[in-house]
């Protein structure tokens, strides 16, 4: 490596970045846009779920239950006259669930018989259905406690479940989705930035002119990595700021592991992009490959929405090939849990191994030849 040549190349690359709106756009505009779409668009919590309430005969007990639903933030109860009407509404997707108190509900309750509360949920969206079930159970349990409390007794249940959700007590799904998103967006950005730029040099014929100078391929590669790394880190910083200030995700870990892991990840993503472009030599193909091999796997197999632990073993193995997976893990932990060194170390080592592996292939593939 020669300092003068490297400095010249890095300066050239930086100038091109500053003048080319598209790389600035990819580095800053795209993450903001994607974070906004995803951040607002993706949430697994259910709020204000439309729920049909069918009370066939009014009674104080039934009214108490209804007011329980009315007060819950999770539901948007819609009173309905008959179960037929409610079922129609369910079929037409006007409501996601039905609560059905038959006319003999109050009587059964008082006579100590088992009074059933009918709950029907639309199971098409199974995840949502399960959430609704959980919320309904909560409302029902509160109502039972109040009922028995009013009678001066305590509700007797043999074993009660008391839960504590660490790291995300309010159970906001956004808090874990947004850090994951940053990892996915950065995979895409890193790979897209570099995959296009080297291919661009091939396409415009400047690579040829460059190669006939005494420059070495090592210098060319280094000069691509350095400025785009900095640019990518800028995008990263922007994303973290958005996560913390716009989406109000707590950042519990400390700064330097965040910086170290982000650098490692950005290095990996950029090497991946460089590898693509070294292989493709054409901006169009490079862009296509970058999208196909980075975005989709990062989306499905990184553990960002779909928990890796729930996947079949073979696919779990496959996820180890996805760089984003390690970064998702690091970010979710750093944001929500704080500095947890064993996790941080393992994932960082994986990232470093991947980065070096890519770098090795790049070095091997990029000879100073046109064929």
């Amino acid at each position: 490596m020669d300092i003068m040549r490297l400095r010249g190349l890095v300066r050239k690359e930086s100038r091109q970045i500053i003048r080319d709106p598209s790389s600035i756009g990819i580095a800053f505009f795209l993450p903001v846009l994607l974070l906004l779409i995803f951040g607002y668009g993706v949430s697994l919590d259910a709020r204000h779920v439309p729920l049909a309430l069918v009370v066939e005969k009014n009674s104080p007990q039934a009214m108490a239950l209804v007011s329980g639903f009315n007060q819950s933030d999770y539901f948007l109860p819609i009173p309905m006259r008959s179960i037929q009407q409610a079922e129609q509404a369910l079929m037409h997707r006007k409501v996601d669930g039905i609560i059905w108190l038959r006319h003999n509900f109050a009587r059964d309750l008082l006579t100590g018989g088992k009074a059933p509360i009918g709950v029907i949920v639309n199971g098409v969206d199974s995840n949502k259905a399960r959430l609704i079930e959980g919320y309904v159970t909560g409302v029902w349990f509160n109502w039972l406690e109040r009922m028995t409390g009013a009678q001066g007794r305590k509700l007797k249940v043999p074993v009660t479940v008391e839960h504590r959700v660490w790291f995300n007590a309010a159970v906001r799904s956004r808090d874990y989705l947004v850090p994951g998103l940053i990892a996915i967006i950065m995979t895409l950005i890193g790979a897209m930035l570099t995959s296009m730029v080297v291919a661009r040099e091939w396409e415009r014929g400047t690579m040829e002119a460059l190669m006939v100078t005494p420059v070495s391929m090592k210098e060319v590669i280094a000069s691509k990595i350095i400025p785009y790394f900095l640019l990518g880190m800028g995008g990263m910083l922007l994303s973290v700021l958005m996560a913390v200030f716009l989406f109000q995700v707590p950042l519990r870990g400390s700064m330097w592991p965040l910086i170290v892991s982000s650098s490692l990840f950005m290095f990996t993503a950029i090497n991946m992009g460089l590898l693509i472009s070294v292989a493709a030599k054409n901006q169009f193909v490079a862009g296509q490959i970058a999208i196909v091999i980075t975005f989709l796997p990062a989306f499905i197999l990184s553990g960002f929405v779909f928990d890796i632990r729930t996947m079949p073993v073979v696919i779990q193995w496959l996820t180890h090939l996805v760089a984003a997976r390690y970064f998702v893990d690091i970010l979710q932990t750093l944001f929500l849990a704080g500095d947890i060194w064993p996790l941080f170390l393992i994932n960082s080592v994986w990232l470093a191994v991947m980065a070096l592996f890519f770098l090795m292939i790049i070095k091997k593939k990029s000879r100073k030849l046109l064929e």
Partner: protein, 369 residues
């Protein structure tokens, strides 16, 4: 007119199918995606790794824990005897939850006093946390009724009788996999159409086409049909896989579903051709398709419900054809919905299709240079 359209369509098909690479793009990703998605995209948990921290020497606690150890959904990873043991297990993601039973569990239970099972959950994936908590509750409920039956004294005046329609076991594969029909049909038709005009512009053949006596309408139809046919074939393939391989029940009518596919493809092709007509190079076409595809998939309700989105985002989703088609496809599969339940989902897609196709046809000649 028909002959010219047919000639153009034949040419488009040849161009798409001749190249080995584009053939691969049409064949490999759908198969790979349906398999990977089908198996990995799921919200259900199985073998939830958990740890036991039992301070109670009594029998009852062991009986309760035995239920967890025996359950398919749970997988015991560690047993600990200290408070300090909890944090490392959860922090390092060795377990998803820890079940903690205090020292007086059995004593309270036999005295008829409330006995507490404390569950400590890893909230880093809050969705998984809530689902596993539900599983814990189910196990505890089973234990409770068993206990009550044996020892009496426990009486709950009103029980929830829950039934979930259309998907009684709440298997999330049934939700995700039919959605892939929409996802892949969209991706493939966009791939075929978004580059079709841009590619010709880049090669200069589009000018050749415009100076022939073909009218924009003829060009439009000739360019749309291959997308339609390929989209239909791909969708049919995925539907077949969904039914025969993944055993998702199909309860509705194929007519209802295929009418939906028709309207959906119309809108997808319209958008693809419009992107393509705006673009000068294939690169721009690809970027355009990508910039449409990502939000379209995210804001469609494919993985996460639209109702959770902020209101202004929800308004935007009305422009997204995938939003409508996802409901048609899922309702056709699981709900067995008939046409009258879905009719108001068809016309928005047809409208989007007509608007975008018109725009594309006008852009053929009147693009800003």
């Amino acid at each position: 007119m028909l002959r010219k359209i047919f000639a153009l369509m034949k040419k488009e098909f040849r161009a798409i199918l001749k190249n080995k690479k584009t053939r691969m793009v049409l064949i490999i990703p759908p198969i790979a995606q349906i398999l990977v998605f089908g198996y990995s995209a799921s919200f259900d948990l199985n073998k939830v790794p958990f740890a036991i921290y039992n301070e109670d020497p009594g029998l009852a606690s062991r009986q309760l824990l035995a239920r967890f150890q025996g359950a398919e959904t749970f997988h015991l990873v560690a047993t600990i005897d200290h408070d300090d043991g909890i944090a490392p297990l959860i922090n390092e993601k060795k377990v998803m939850l820890v079940l903690h039973i205090g020292p007086d569990f059995t004593r309270n239970l036999s005295k008829g006093q409330p006995a507490k099972l404390q569950v400590i959950l890893d909230g880093r994936n809050s969705n998984s946390a809530m689902i596993s908590l539900n599983y814990v509750r189910t196990v505890v409920m089973g234990f409770n009724s068993h206990w009550a039956a044996l020892h009496g004294g426990h009486h709950v005046p009103a029980q929830l009788v829950v039934s979930s329609w259309f998907n009684s076991s709440l298997d999330s594969h049934w939700f995700i996999i039919p959605g892939i029909v929409a996802l892949l049909a969209l991706v493939v038709t966009l791939e075929v159409t978004a580059l079709s005009v841009a590619k010709e512009r880049e090669a200069g053949t589009f000018d050749q086409l415009l100076v022939t006596p073909m009218t924009p309408l003829e060009i439009l139809i000739g360019k749309s049909l291959p997308g339609f046919i390929i989209g239909f074939v791909e969708a049919t393939f995925i539907i077949t896989m969904t039914i025969l391989w993944f055993h998702v029940p199909f309860r509705g009518s194929f007519l209802v579903l295929y009418l939906g596919i028709f309207a959906f493809l119309l809108s997808a092709i319209g958008i693809g051709l419009m992107i393509s007509s705006i673009s000068v190079t294939q690169q721009q076409g690809l970027m355009g398709a990508f910039l449409f595809l990502v939000p379209a998939v995210i804001l469609s309700g494919f993985a996460t419900p639209i109702e959770n989105m902020p209101r202004f985002v929800q308004y935007i989703t009305y422009l997204n054809p995938m939003r409508y088609f996802l409901i048609i496809v899922r309702s056709s599969f699981l709900q067995g919905a008939s046409f009258d339940l879905l009719w108001n989902l068809y016309w928005p897609m047809v409208l989007i299709g007509i608007a975008t196709l018109t725009a594309a046809g006008m852009l053929f000649r009147n693009r800003m240079y």
